[in-house]
Symmetry: C2
Subunit: 353 residues, 2 copies
């Protein structure tokens, strides 16, 4: 598709464009796959940007709040998507051209990029260079990327686990949850996870080594279900869902329990969030509940890699991905997160190399 002109190669650049701010449940049609764009595969003269070919894109729950119309205040921790522009998010990419001294042609990177075939990245500070390529490259959207770092920070820094403690994880087969459970087992904890299908529950028990797992959709009384799995209570709750499950967990926490507030996916598509009624437990049980955002902990990423790579090589940490093929499948893949359609980390392949 190369076209001559000015000596710089220009190619078509398929993109997933964000159409308009979303309220309620997002739909595939809130995005649009466009093939009308073009891009020059060279960094503009004098710029310190890099030009990359996108390989793998990451679908993550935090992207839902980015679809909202920006409002001053409560949720402005990250910019909303810009209507008419490509979605952006975490991805793995290959450098085709670089105006930046830290990057050169052929480098592999992970970090924020566009939902398109090629991206000109002008803000390179947040990018990580990939040095270990003896693992699937797609892992840098999950196990070795933002979700993996989230699981590591959330579990070790926020939950302060001790051997023998009882750990509960919601959305436990997801990109983050499956790792938290495996980390907790490595730490000698008793680990129970919840997920939304039999297939996922089987994964938790048979692939990720959780002690127990249950399908929350089959539990009419979540508090009673938790009481069954934690007769003596929960020491650590790694919360990915918020809402009713959080409420049920509060009733089942132990004294001095810790709750890592990683996300609340059950709430992201509601016009009004659900009420949580059992916060008095926070007082009586001296619970610490703490929110965290992984971006503030990326200085610990090298420490995380040092911890996790040997475990991967020894087969002690495994990772399940749900791979969608091609940019055309990206809108459905992203929407699928919010119905729980994905099994494991949702990745979109744009190109394999």
């Amino acid at each position: 598709m190369a076209s001559g002109g000015g000596g710089v190669e220009e190619v078509t650049n398929k993109q997933v464009l964000f159409k308009e701010y979303v309220s309620g449940f997002p739909k595939e049609s809130d995005m649009h796959v466009s093939t009308s764009g073009t891009i020059k595969l060279k960094v503009p003269e004098g710029s310190n940007a890099i030009l990359v070919k996108n390989l793998y894109l990451s679908c993550d729950p935090y992207m839902r709040p980015r679809m909202k119309q920006p409002t001053p205040g409560s949720q402005a921790y990250i910019d909303s998507f810009k209507p008419g522009s490509p979605i952006d998010g975490y991805g793995v990419a290959k450098v085709l051209d670089s105006g930046h001294p830290d990057f050169k042609k052929g480098d592999l990177i992970w970090g924020m990029t566009g939902w398109e075939e090629y991206s000109l990245i002008t803000t390179t500070q947040g990018l990580f260079k990939i040095h270990h390529t003896d693992v699937p490259l797609s892992y840098y959207t999950g196990l070795l990327g933002m979700p993996g770092t989230t699981a590591y920070i959330g579990f070790y820094e926020i939950c302060t686990p001790k051997k023998g403690e009882h750990v509960f994880i919601s959305a436990a087969s997801g990109a983050v949850g499956q790792l938290v459970g495996q980390f907790a087992k490595l730490s000698g904890c008793h680990v129970v996870g919840s997920a939304g299908s039999k297939e996922k529950v089987d994964l938790l028990k048979n692939k990720f080594g959780f002690d127990e797992a249950f399908n929350y959709k089959e539990e009419p009384d979540l508090a009673a279900a938790l009481k069954r799995y934690f007769p003596e209570g929960i020491d650590i709750y790694f919360d990915n869902v918020g809402g009713k499950m959080l409420d049920a967990v509060l009733l089942n926490m132990r004294v001095h329990g810790r709750i890592a507030e990683c996300g609340m996916i059950s709430q992201y598509n509601l016009e009004q969030p659900e009420g949580v009624f059992n916060l008095m437990s926070v007082v009586w049980k001296q619970i610490r509940m703490e929110g965290f955002l992984v971006f503030e902990y990326y200085h610990l990423y090298p420490k995380f890699l040092e911890f996790v790579l040997p475990h991967i090589k020894e087969g002690k940490i495994t990772y399940v991905e749900d791979i969608a093929e091609g940019l055309e499948s990206a809108p459905a893949a992203l929407i699928g997160l919010f119905t729980g359609r994905n099994v494991g980390k949702q990745v979109v392949v744009v190109a394999r190399e």
Copy 2:
């Protein structure tokens, strides 16, 4: 009222008896002042108990949950009152007789005692001996007792304040709140409190040195009120009330804010607690919300005294008490906490010496 018999003086012992478990709003008639009891003013032979004359009794919000029928699980952090027996709680008392080597006749103590004229205390581990008597003795139910230690621990240990931070305190003129505000001012913070009457708001501003204060009952929109007082947000919230105020605070917290969960008095009399809807702020703003119970921090009481006594002597810390006279007034004094009738720390005088 002494009566002979067995060589041991026996006297009448007026008591405030707890009648029956309470649901909903407690009433004076849930307690009964009895004059039919008697007590021997001697410790039984061979016992290591102490026999005390009660001087000042403390009315505290945590006593409301103790009126509930005990249920396994969520709120069993402290025993319920026993129907037919005297209410028990914090108080200041004088030792009349002692079978314990650590206590002798004439000692002044504070700690858990009965709502009665005289108490035989068999569990003496939790009692504190009073060494500083150049302050009003009633202060050992408040400023120098459990509420003072609560304010100290909650603010310094849980909130980890920094100079210049913006602090909000609810129930701010109460036994704990008035001290948190003064501690926060001593730490160089900007301090705003809420209370339920003009008189209390005036106290906050004119006596306790809060920068600002407001009457929450006159604010139809609590979130908007907080926005007015904290245009750049709240760094520290010392929560004494829970419920709607907590929900409004969550919307107004700053990134990395801290919430000390000291109590939720707005919820104690409700059959079902209110919902809190804005917990997503905990994630996005990386808020740490932590419950604490002062009993676990009493090893720091000497450190607290060392900190607070010089401030009292220099007039840098002041304390307002609401003193009810006589055991007969105790039921109304306790109930008054839940309507906010008290102005400052609610104390009941049984005897002045």
